[in-house]
Structures are given as structure tokens and as C-alpha cells.
């Protein structure tokens, strides 16, 4: 309720050092006087009862008990999430680092705490800072799961106009947004991926430090990546002085950069400001379904083998010739990848290459030869194998391919066998995407998808994935699996990787499977692994290796060395 200038404030003296103000809202007196002297308007007695009952139902009867659990019809939180919310509210007083391992629901915990503060009227103005790619997802979750009217920040005027805003950290820290934010008082500030605040000398850290805030939650799965100082910096954002000054922190707690002096003592201090639930904790009731990986070896027919070899030789030969001509080099990489997927995918690229080769008659002839070889391929071993597999699975299956031509070819091929499948790709608009998802859930046995990323494809009702071809980028593989292997999936997830013998695909699979162990790792930890392996631009690395390898064995051994420093 608005503070009115005619309101009255008393004080109650509790003891020698504590006086508590009591503020009486008095606007109602004027309203009643006015109605009384003018003979109305008056409200109905029946509605008077309804109003009182509403207040009674919303009354916060207790300082400590969570109210929000009664207000969340669309969510049943796990016990460790409820316990975490209670601890932050009652023991940490609204300033905490939420550092659960990936997949345990830090977002849910933050949502519970936010909801509780909103219900209690302790928060009104709220800012949620997240990586740009997560803004919409956060906004949607807060609205749908928590009934919190959060909006995604898009325009400059929104900072003042809306109470609960989700925004990207990178946008927010720059002007003019920064200036708007610095003018506000935020009852609650939530920062996701807070390990980006580990360095006190960065713009990020300084930005968060300067925002005026009552309560603050820092969310990160990796509170310490390298150095204990990082933790000191995070805690200083929450409570400057909690660890004292840096020198004394160093003296008391750090043996060197990476190891604490007295682990137990440091742990106790940290526990006052940080909660970290682990998957291995006994109290965790989330059961993550397993990933069960099958590699399906594919034997090429002699004609397919001939085409594969011809294309690979062509790529190798021209890669150096095109050196520096990025567009053509890229086409070659694409071609090499496409031929692992299907003849149809490579075919289109060959045709385009032909059209663009201008007056280069030698090149044109070479391409024509490849096209001739491609035309001779009648049977596609992979497709046949997939049809056998789908019939055996006899349940919903999602097939991922990188290429649209493969997608169309597969849908036709499946239809020939009486298997109903629907396409899914990035170019579809929202409505069509939703429609395809619904068809898949209700009618089709198979979805053939070219897009794994993007918002809103949750396919928990399906637990079989076929990787028809392999992306060279592990993040894309993880995105594919993540569509079905996520919170909400109750069954184990089966992943089938098609591996054509004696092709580059076999080696890629080896790299992803054996080296990165990507199919066994659960959601999210991949980033850390890739960072450790120093695999920044994996696609280009692979291509370099492929081109420069003398033979298959050389290629395999070079591939094994990826990531070794």
C-alpha cells in the first residue's frame, strides 16, 4: 500500500537500543468520511465477507514456514529444493550462493525463494540476470511454473515500467541500460551462471557490486574453477567482509592458490553463505535415467564405397587448391560431412558446386564424374539399417540428421515401409513446430529432426534417439540428447549411433564416444570437459587432421592426440 503523507507513524521502544516504528495507513479514514457525508457509495456485506476471507487465506501466519508451496499449482518441488529455499530464507536471510551440481534444479530453488518473498510482500522490484540464450527460458519458467509475472527485457523503457525483469547480463552492464539499473533499488537480484563474477577486477563483478539490492542469489554449478580467491570474490559480492579483508583471508585460509589451509574451517565458513547439493547426496530423490548407448555398425555396398572414396579423394585434392578461398573450402567440408549422411545430401552440394565452377572445365568434368558415380548408388545401407532398427524398437523414435536432403529422403523411405514420420526443422515457425510436436506425440512413430537446439522442444515422452549422422561439434550432440534426457524423463534413454565402417564418421564417433565420453556424461558437464581438453574449434581441427593425414591409421592416431597439451 502507498505511503500517504497524512499517515501516522508511532514508535515502540523494545529495549535500550531498539525502537521499532509502527506505520498506520490512514487514507481509508478520508474515504469513509466522504462516503458517510455523501450517503455512499457503499459496498455489499456479502462481498465484504469475501474480501476478508481472501485476506485470511493470504495471511502469513508464521515467520518461518514456507507459504509458497500452497501457491504453486503447477509445480511439485523436490525435498532438497524446499530445504534449500527454507535455509536461504531463514538462516541466510536472503543472501546466498546456490551451487548445486548441474541438473538438481537451481532455477527451481531460486524460483521458490523469489515466490516466497513476493507472497510475503518482502520483494516487489526484482532483477534476474542470465546469459542471453537463457532469457526467454527463465521468463517462461517463472511465469508457467511459478505464476510469477516476469518479463524479458527488450526495450530501454522497460527498466522502470516493470517490476520483475529477466535480462541478459551482457546487455545490462552496458549503457544506457546500466544507468537505468543503477537508479533502481532491487529487493531481489538473481544472477545465473555467477561463475562469471569470479574475478574482482572485471566489469561484471563491478557491475553486480554496484547494483543496490536487498537480497541477492548467485547461481553457479562451479563456484570454484581454479582458485580459492574466486570464492572469496563471490562471497564479497554477497557480504563484503564475511571473510574479512583479502590478506587475512589468505593468511587464515589459503595454503596456496589451489588448496585451503584448514579445509574444515573454510568449509564451515562457506556453508554460512553457500548451499551445494550433490547428486550423490543421500537426500537427493531425483533419479536420473541412464543413457544407454548402442553403436550400429554399417557396412557399405561396393557402389556406396566407391562414391565415398571418390568424394573423399576429391575433397582432399581440392582442399589445398582452394586454400584461402573460404567459401569453397567450407563447401568441401560440407561435402565431406554430407557424404557420411546420405547420397542425397551430397548430391545437392555437388550440383551447386558444378553451377558455381564457372569456366573451369576440368573441375566440371570431375564433378560430373562424381555425379555419375552417385547415380549408380541404388541402395542406401544406412536407411535400410534404420528401418530395421525402428521396427525392432516399436516405440517413439527421434532421428537426428544435419541435412535437409537426408531428412526428406528418410521421410519418403519410411513412408514406403508404412512408418508414419513427421519432419522438424529450424525454419518452421512456432505454430508449425508445435503442430509437429503434437503430431509426433499423438500419431507419428518417428520424428525426423534437423534442429536440436532452440527453445521449447521437450520430448520427454520419447526415449529413443537415432543419430543418423554425427555432428562434429560435441555441443550439438549434447543438445540432441538433451531434448529427451532431461528432468522429467522417467525412462532410460537409448542412443543409437550409426557408424559406417571405414569412413570419417567412424573416427568422429570414436572421438566423441571414447575420448570425450560424451554419451555417458549427464547434461551440462560437457562444457567443463571441453574446456579441459582445450577443444575450442573442434570442427576445423578435425578437418585439418583429415586433410593432412597420410592414411587412416595416421588419421586415427592424430585424432587421439586432440586435446593433449
Amino acid at each position: 500500500m502507498m505511503q500517504h503523507k497524512k499517515d501516522r507513524t508511532y514508535s515502540i521502544k523494545i529495549n535500550e537500543e531498539l525502537v521499532v516504528p509502527i506505520h498506520f495507513h490512514q487514507q481509508w479514514i478520508y474515504e469513509l468520511q466522504s462516503s458517510h457525508s455523501q450517503n455512499g457509495p457503499w459496498d455489499l456485506w456479502d462481498v465484504f465477507h469475501l474480501a476478508y476471507q481472501a485476506e485470511e487465506a493470504l495471511q502469513v501466519k508464521d515467520f518461518n514456514e514456507l507459504q509458497c508451496l500452497n501457491h504453486l499449482p503447477n509445480l511439485t518441488p523436490f525435498p532438497h529444493q524446499i530445504e534449500t529455499a527454507k535455509k536461504v530464507l531463514n538462516e541466510m536471510h536472503g543472501r546466498a550462493i546456490l551451487a548445486d551440481e548441474v541438473g538438481l534444479g537451481k532455477t527451481i530453488e531460486a524460483g521458490l525463494i523469489l515466490k516466497e518473498y513476493l507472497i510475503r510482500g518482502l520483494a516487489k522490484k526484482v532483477l534476474v540476470l542470465v546469459p542471453a540464450s537463457l532469457v526467454l527460458q527463465w521468463t517462461r519458467e517463472l511465469n508457467q511454473k511459478f505464476g510469477i509475472p516476469a518479463v524479458a527485457q527488450k526495450k530501454e523503457w522497460m527498466w522502470e515500467k516493470y517490476d520483475i525483469i529477466v535480462a541478459s547480463m551482457d546487455t545490462s552492464k552496458r549503457n544506457p541500460h546500466r544507468n537505468h539499473i543503477m537508479k533502481q533499488h532491487y529487493d531481489l537480484l538473481i544472477v545465473d551462471e555467477a561463475h562469471k563474477l569470479k574475478n574482482r577486477r572485471t566489469k561484471n563483478w563491478e557491475f553486480i557490486n554496484n547494483i543496490k539490492k536487498k537480497f541477492i542469489l548467485l547461481l553457479t554449478a562451479t563456484p570454484i574453477q581454479n582458485d580459492i580467491t574466486e570464492l572469496y570474490n563471490l562471497v564479497t559480492l554477497l557480504k563484503p567482509g564475511h571473510f574479512g579483508k583479502f590478506n587475512s583471508f589468505q593468511k587464515e585460509h589459503m595454503k596456496d592458490k589451489r588448496s585451503p589451509k584448514n579445509k574444515e574451517l573454510l568449509r564451515k565458513e562457506i556453508e554460512k553463505v553457500m548451499i551445494r547439493n550433490k547428486r550423490s547426496d543421500k537426500k537427493i530423490e531425483i533419479k536420473f535415467p541412464k543413457r544407454i548407448v548402442h553403436t550400429i555398425p554399417i557396412e557399405l555396398t561396393p557402389k556406396e564405397r566407391e562414391l565415398y572414396q571418390a568424394i573423399t579423394n576429391f575433397v582432399k585434392e581440392h582442399y589445398h587448391k582452394f586454400n584461402g578461398d573460404l567459401k569453397n573450402m567450407f563447401t568441401l567440408i560440407t561435402l565431406q560431412r554430407e557424404i557420411c549422411s546420405s547420397r542425397d545430401a551430397a548430391f545437392i552440394t555437388l550440383v551447386n558446386l558444378f553451377k558455381n565452377s564457372g569456366g573451369n572445365e576440368t573441375l566440371k568434368n570431375e564433378i560430373l564424374k562424381l555425379v555419375q558415380i552417385a547415380k549408380k548408388v541404388e541402395l542406401q545401407s544406412k536407411a535400410n539399417e534404420v528401418i530395421k532398427l525402428i521396427k525392432k524398437i516399436n516405440d517413439k523414435v527421434i532421428i537426428f540428421t544435419e541435412y535437409r536432403a537426408t531428412q526428406e529422403f528418410l521421410i519418403n523411405k519410411l513412408a514406403e515401409q508404412g512408418i508414419y514420420s513427421v519432419p522438424y526443422r529450424g525454419g518452421f515457425n512456432r505454430g508449425k513446430k508445435d503442430w509437429m510436436m503434437e503430431l509426433f506425440q499423438r500419431k507419428a512413430q518417428v520424428m525426423v529432426a534437423t534442429e536440436a537446439g532452440g527453445e521449447g522442444i521437450n520430448l520427454q515422452f520419447c526415449n529413443h534417439i537415432i543419430n543418423y549422422d554425427m555432428p562434429w561439434n560435441p555441443m550439438r550432440v549434447e543438445q540432441r540428447i538433451g531434448r529427451v534426457h532431461r528432468l522429467g524423463q522417467t525412462r532410460d534413454v537409448y542412443i543409437y549411433n550409426l557408424s559406417t565402417k571405414g569412413t570419417i564418421e567412424e573416427h568422429i564417433l570414436f572421438l566423441l564416444h571414447e575420448k570425450i565420453q560424451m554419451f555417458e556424461n549427464v547434461i551440462g558437464s560437457l562444457e567443463t570437459i571441453l574446456e579441459k581438453l582445450n577443444l575450442d574449434n573442434i570442427e576445423n581441427n578435425i578437418m585439418e587432421i583429415l586433410i593432412n593425414s597420410k592414411d587412416e591409421q595416421d588419421f586415427r592416431s592424430r585424432l587421439s592426440n586432440i586435446g593433449k597439451i
Partner: protein
């Protein structure tokens, strides 16, 4: 607040506001809204401005609420409503807006122990009644609901006033052959007396919540002092002072105990002296 409570509340809300029940089943309720409820719930101010400007015949919306999806017959679609859902919040707000302020008269009892009492005996005295919400706030929060009444003739006060009023037969119409006493105390004076009473009530409360919050406040202020004192060994500048002031403000904002008292609803009640 279970589904029985929610359903009962909704039905009363719609009934009181003259909405028309179209269909009711064990799991659902379909209702055609009245004009005032439509304005409060459907969020279409432009439509209502249009109707008022042009005088067009208003068409209100029909809503179907689902209380238990399992008991809803095939083919019926609607919105699930439960405690905490946005729709119920909207209905609460509508009720709070429309149930704020009343003036009511106690109806004469027709019979006492079977004996007809002539109604012209009665004189009603005016009371001010207020339902208060008292909020105890630090970094935590608790509410207390207090209902008080005060006789505007004599200054006599009554606790649990609303609970008492609920037992009476009250009507917005002044009954025939009944007179009312003129108030002796102004509404404002009476309100101040009620506030005195509330302060008295608050005094009786346990103040550990405030004392504990104040302890946290002091402890963290100490921490801030120490931290910035040490920081300033390295660099003395105005920025650091500004940052320290900001941090002190934050700590006070977070922990400082305070109490807010606001009315839920209130009214003038003309009551029979004898019954009090």
C-alpha cells in the same frame, strides 16, 4: 486451501455478483460473467471503453473453471483453478476492491422467546468497525489480523468485532420504525482510538523477531566497518566511501524491523444497544 474451499469461494463470488451458472459438474463450473465481473477478470479495457462510448449492447464472456480434471466429462475444456493460480488472485483482488466499505443496520428481532417485540422500541447506535492487517517486517515477515469496533456515541470498544457482526442480521436498509443516534465522536477521533488500542495489542506481542533482526543488523554493520577500514588502507578515495554508504543502506534495508498497519475493510454499523 483445498479445492472444496476454492470452489465454494468462486461460487459465492459469482453468485453475489449476479453471474449466470450455465453448467456445473463434479469437476467443473461454467459461468457467464456479469458486466462488473467481466471488467475485473477479462482484462479488456478497450472493449469496455468501446461499449460505453458507443452504447453498444455489451457481450460478456463465458468461463469454464476446472476444479478436478479427473471428474470432467469428455469434451469440456476450461482453465484449472487452484489456490495460487493467477485467476484466483484476480478474483481475490476483485473481491477486495468491491468489499471495502459498508454501512449496515441491524434488523430488529421479530421474536424473543416466542414473544413478538414491537419494533418501535429500537434505537440503533453507530459503530465504526475496522478489520486491520498488522505486518511485522524485517528480513522476515508475519501478519496478524485484528478486528476492532468502537461505539461512536460512547467511545466503548469491542474486540473481535467482525466475528460478532457475523452473527447479527444486518442490512443496508434502515428498518421501519427505527431511529438512529447521532454520532458523538468523529470518525477520525474514533480511528485514532482504535490505533491506540492496536499499539496496546502490539505491545503484548513477542518481539524476539525484532531483537534478532537487530542483532543481525549490528553484526553486519560491524563487518562493513571493518571491511572498508581495511580496504581503505590500500586506496583512499571517494568511491570507496560511496560504496560503503551504499552497503550500510543495504544492510539497514534488509534487516531493520518495522510494523505496518493497514485496513482490510471497514464500515459504519448501526447496532442495537441491548445485544452488545
Amino acid at each position: 486451501m483445498n479445492q472444496i474451499w476454492v470452489r465454494d469461494y468462486l461460487k459465492r463470488y459469482f453468485m453475489i455478483h449476479q453471474c449466470h451458472f450455465i453448467e456445473e459438474g463434479p469437476g467443473h463450473l461454467e459461468v457467464k460473467l456479469s458486466v462488473e465481473v467481466d471488467k475485473d477478470l477479462t482484462n479488456r479495457p478497450y472493449y469496455w471503453t468501446f461499449v460505453e462510448r458507443t452504447g453498444a449492447e455489451p457481450e460478456t464472456l463465458t468461463m469454464t473453471f476446472i476444479f478436478d480434471q479427473k471428474k470432467v466429462p469428455e469434451g469440456i475444456r476450461g482453465e484449472e483453478i487452484r489456490f495460487g493460480s493467477e485467476r484466483l488472485k484476480q478474483i481475490f483482488n476483485s473481491a477486495k476492491k468491491r468489499g471495502k466499505m459498508v454501512r449496515l443496520y441491524q434488523q430488529p428481532k421479530q421474536k424473543i422467546r416466542g414473544v413478538q417485540i414491537p419494533t418501535n422500541y429500537y434505537t440503533l447506535s453507530p459503530w465504526l468497525g475496522v478489520n486491520y492487517k498488522v505486518e511485522f517486517i524485517s528480513d522476515q515477515k508475519k501478519d496478524l489480523l485484528i478486528s476492532l469496533g468502537i461505539d461512536l456515541g460512547t467511545g466503548k470498544m469491542k474486540q473481535n468485532f467482525y466475528q460478532y457482526l457475523k452473527q447479527l442480521d444486518l442490512s443496508p436498509v434502515l428498518p421501519a420504525n427505527v431511529s438512529t443516534l447521532a454520532p458523538f465522536i468523529s470518525i477520525r477521533e474514533a480511528a485514532l482510538q482504535l490505533e491506540e488500542w492496536i499499539i496496546h495489542e502490539i505491545h503484548k506481542q513477542n518481539f524476539n523477531w525484532a531483537i534478532e533482526a537487530n542483532e543481525r543488523l549490528k553484526e553486519e554493520l560491524k563487518m562493513v566497518e571493518l571491511f572498508y577500514e581495511i580496504e581503505s588502507e590500500n586506496k583512499t578515495n571517494i568511491e570507496l566511501l560511496v560504496e560503503k554508504e551504499k552497503r550500510i543502506e543495504e544492510v539497514k534495508w534488509q534487516y531493520s524491523p518495522k510494523i505496518e498497519v493497514s485496513p482490510i475493510n471497514f464500515g459504519i454499523f448501526y447496532l442495537d444497544k441491548i445485544s452488545i
